[in-house]
Symmetry: C2
Subunit: 187 residues, 2 copies
C-alpha cells in the first residue's frame, strides 16, 4: 500500500519550520567549541564531547523530522541516506548534501557538503589541528539513525577547515534492527 501522505520537498520542509539566523547559530556553536577547548585539555576529548553533544541533539531532532517531513519509513539504508541528504540537512541547516561513494554491500556511503553553515568565519589555529570541528554534525546523524534502529559509525574523511575541497562524512551501517522501528503506531 502506498503511503497516505507524500513526503514534503526539502524546500517546503525548510519553509515550514521555525528558524533563527544562521550567523547566530554559527557563533553560538563556535562559543561551545571555544568553551570546551578551554575546559578540557585534550583536543581528542573535545572531539568526543562534540560528538556526544551531537548524538544527544540527533536523538531529539529525529522526532521533529518525522513529525514534519511526512516521511513514514524508508525501505533500506540507501533510501534513508537519500532522505537525510535531501530532506534532513535541508530541514535543519538549510543546505543539501550529496550521497556518494557507496560500497558494494550498500552499507557505507558518504555525505558530501559543499556549503556548511557551521563553519562560516571559522579558522583553526595551529594549536587545534586535531580538532574535528564539525563533530556535532556526525554525532547528530549517528543519534538520529539510532532512534530509527540503525546503528552507525560516522567519521569525517574530508574537512575544508583542514584544507580539503569539501566536507565529507563517511557513514557505515553496523547493525539494523527493523522490527524495533518505533514509528509504526500510525500505520
Amino acid at each position: 500500500m502506498p503511503p497516505l501522505t507524500t513526503p514534503k520537498s526539502g524546500d517546503a520542509l525548510f519553509a515550514s519550520v521555525d528558524r533563527v539566523n544562521a550567523e547566530l547559530f554559527t557563533l553560538t556553536y563556535g562559543a561551545i567549541v571555544r568553551q570546551l577547548l578551554t575546559d578540557l585539555e585534550e583536543v581528542e576529548e573535545v572531539n568526543k564531547q562534540l560528538d556526544q553533544m551531537g548524538y544527544n541533539i540527533g536523538t531529539r531532532l529525529v522526532d521533529e523530522f518525522l513529525a514534519k517531513s511526512n516521511v513514514s519509513g524508508c525501505v533500506d539504508f540507501k533510501e534513508t541516506a537519500d532522505t537525510i541528504a535531501k530532506l534532513g540537512f535541508k530541514m535543519f541547516l538549510g543546505v543539501t548534501a550529496t550521497v556518494t561513494n557507496w560500497d558494494a554491500e550498500g552499507t557505507t556511503c558518504s555525505f558530501v557538503l559543499e556549503d556548511n553553515p557551521l563553519v562560516d568565519f571559522v579558522e583553526l589555529p595551529d594549536t587545534c589541528q586535531g580538532l574535528q570541528y564539525c563533530n556535532v554534525l556526525s554525532g547528530v546523524i549517528r543519534g538520529a539513525l539510532e532512534m530509527v534502529s540503525m546503528k552507525t559509525e560516522v567519521t569525517w574523511v574530508r574537512d575544508m577547515l583542514r584544507g580539503d575541497d569539501a566536507y565529507e562524512m563517511r557513514v557505515k551501517l553496523t547493525k539494523q534492527v527493523p522490527e524495533e522501528y518505533p514509528y509504526k503506531d500510525d500505520d
Copy 2:
C-alpha cells in the same frame, strides 16, 4: 539630510538572512548550558559564562545587523532600543520584543519577550533554580550596544522558566560616547 536608504522592515530583514532550524539552535544552546553546568561547580559561574559568551557573540552580530538592516545610526537610546526590539530580535531570533517601562531619564527600559525560541522544551531542575538560562541574550545586547558606544547593564527581571508570565530584561544605559561611533564611514 534624510538617510539615503530606508531601514528594512523586521520581516524583510529576517527573510534576507541565512537561517537554520530553530529547534537545532535551541538544542545546541541547551547543550552548552548542560556542558557548563557539568564543568563548573557554581550556578553563578555558569550565569557569568553565558553572559560573557553572549557578549562575545553580540560584538560580532552587530556587524551583520548594521550591514543588512540599512540602519545607519540612531539619534538616541530610545530609538536604539526600538530598533533592537523590532529589527534586532526579529533578524536573529525571528521574534519581536516590546520596549516598555522607561524611567524618567530615558536611560533605562525593558525588553519584554513573549516568545523566546531559546527556551523551547526547557525545564529547570530544582538544583538549577539560580540559573539565568537566557543570560546569553542579555550578553548579546550588552556586547552589541558596546560596539556602538553604549555601555549598558542588562539584567533579567522576569523569566518564564522561574514562573513569571513573560521574559523581561532591564537595560540600563550607563555611559554613551557618541563621537566614537564607528559606523560613520559611509556618511
